[in-house]
Symmetry: C2
Subunit: 321 residues, 2 copies
């Protein structure tokens, strides 16, 4: 497709300074937050309009990284005080994360204000923030083509009513497996996804980490494995980078349908695979189009089911005597 048909994406979410320790290393006060991972990931596909807030301590280097990726920062509020700061440590196999500290700082009193130029954004991503704020965003935007949301266990526990209101108004909802089980009470992940769909979104995407992703839309089910990696250094932001690749790629598709959503999940998977290979945004801030396409093709090959000469099956099944 031609560049003119790329549609811009609006993202509203957290901008943070992260301190993360994993068995593979450590980062301190590094650029992070859901809107950051999403924006950088989506920037490989289309124009990104970022809405969020930073404090006075936000480093120039952060602005430089976003600018280099062409992310529009008109909606980034600079407030008096300190930037949202978060620190966490991963266990040996990266399967568990312990949050050490969450200082909301300027985020505590933040209410997103969507610049006039962004209000008719066709593609909107409500990153993982308080669903009350997600509702405030929805009240400011006009006739979006596709609204996608993410959330977390905290809001499922403590802001359930508001979260249900958000879900009733979005087209696509992202959940990880635990969250999908938590909000529905269904252990089976297919049943959980179907139950979420009954809350509103016509497409539910369950992120299963190293086990890939499941997309459910009515009777259309799709499973995609994760990109095969031998080394994972820092899983922080993987879900947001995944969403950025997905929404960014979808914003370039001629149609939003099962086929374009499936392909966009591949792009999400590819960007997420880079994200977890480095600390923070280190690895995703300077990707090459060639590298992204190489992993895309490699993922297709990884999941490819070869055709057989005789159609579906290769032989007539044997019957019992």
């Amino acid at each position: 497709m031609t560049p003119e048909t790329r549609r811009p994406v609006l993202v509203v979410g957290s901008v943070a300074l992260d301190s993360v320790r994993s068995p593979h290393g450590e980062a301190r006060g590094a650029l992070g937050g859901s809107a950051i991972y999403f924006s950088i990931a989506a920037s490989y596909f289309t124009d990104v309009n970022l809405v969020g807030v930073v404090g006075e301590d936000f480093p120039t280097e952060g602005i430089r990284i976003l600018s280099r990726r062409g992310v529009n920062l008109e909606g980034l509020t600079h407030a008096a005080g300190k930037t949202f700061a978060w620190s966490a440590v991963y266990n040996e196999d990266l399967g568990e994360r312990t949050t050490l500290q969450t200082d909301l700082n300027v985020f505590e009193t933040y209410h997103p204000k969507i610049p006039a130029a962004y209000r008719r954004a066709p593609f909107v991503f409500l990153a993982n923030i308080n669903p009350e704020l997600q509702l405030e965003v929805l009240s400011q935007i006009e006739r979006p083509r596709l609204v996608v949301c993410d959330t977390m266990n905290l809001w499922i526990d403590f802001q359930r009513t508001e979260l249900l209101k958000v879900l009733a108004r979005v087209d696509v909802a992202f959940f990880n497996s635990d969250e999908a089980r938590q909000i529905t009470g269904e252990h089976n992940i297919l049943k959980a996804a179907a139950a979420i769909a009954r809350l509103g979104p016509r497409r539910v995407i369950v992120k299963k980490g190293e086990h890939g992703v499941l997309m459910v839309s009515g009777s259309d089910l799709f499973s995609l494995p994760a990109y095969p990696l031998e080394v994972v250094r820092d899983p922080t932001g993987a879900g947001d980078a995944f969403a950025g690749g997905f929404v960014g790629s979808l914003a370039c598709a001629p149609r939003i349908d099962s086929a374009s959503c499936r392909r966009s999940l591949l792009y999400g998977t590819v960007i997420a695979s880079y994200a977890v290979e480095g600390f923070g945004v280190d690895r995703i801030k300077d990707l090459s189009a060639k590298g992204i396409e190489r992993r895309y093709r490699s993922l297709i090959e990884h999941a490819r089911i070869p055709d057989s000469a005789q159609g579906a099956g290769e032989f007539s099944l044997r019957r019992a005597r």
Copy 2:
């Protein structure tokens, strides 16, 4: 392909009477054991020669089920004493199984004797039994085309030396994720599979349960999701049914290569999906060819990545400013 090119499969493994309880029900003294699940599964594809042992209490109904599936029982020894008996209980979400009792009975002193007619079997499955017995089988067979083995945590812990001898002599090895990590000490499943390949097998298949399967052969990696199921009643024997579908289907393929192995993993996945829907062999003992092919096509659709008009990617990736 024509029926004449189906090659028979030899399986040596346990034949048991299982008592299993799950939140979905209960079975007592039901037909079970690795060789049984494998044989019934493989019987939908090709001729199966079963080698194992039963005691005097083995029910006629068990023989009838196997005979109806055309499984050759010349190698089934009837010994004085009781049949191998096993009982277990699953937890609420079926994620954990507690073995209540294992009575080896006639299996305790059993040494497999391969009937002369089976010794040149082209396809051999060494089901999960003591690796010492697996080695005894290998010493009795002549020039097999493909030898596939399975094992379990017990042998990795207590018969490691013998198990390593088996792995050095097989073409394909099945492991579940935990076993693959246990035998190699590698947490990353790709690294674990590669480490197992260095022990001998040129193809390593890691069963990940509800998360599907990973096949590694040199640089050729393949991931396939599990068949999507909303209800799982009894996971017992799923791995053996999976192996039966895989080896049985492969025994009908014109060539053993990446494509036929990938397709055979689909058949394994389909048969395993039936296995877990019922208790014991209830669900897999009377499958229809039509039903198997329907799930096969449905699984292809579930994992299908649609082509895009412009080849791999749908658009030229956007470059930063």
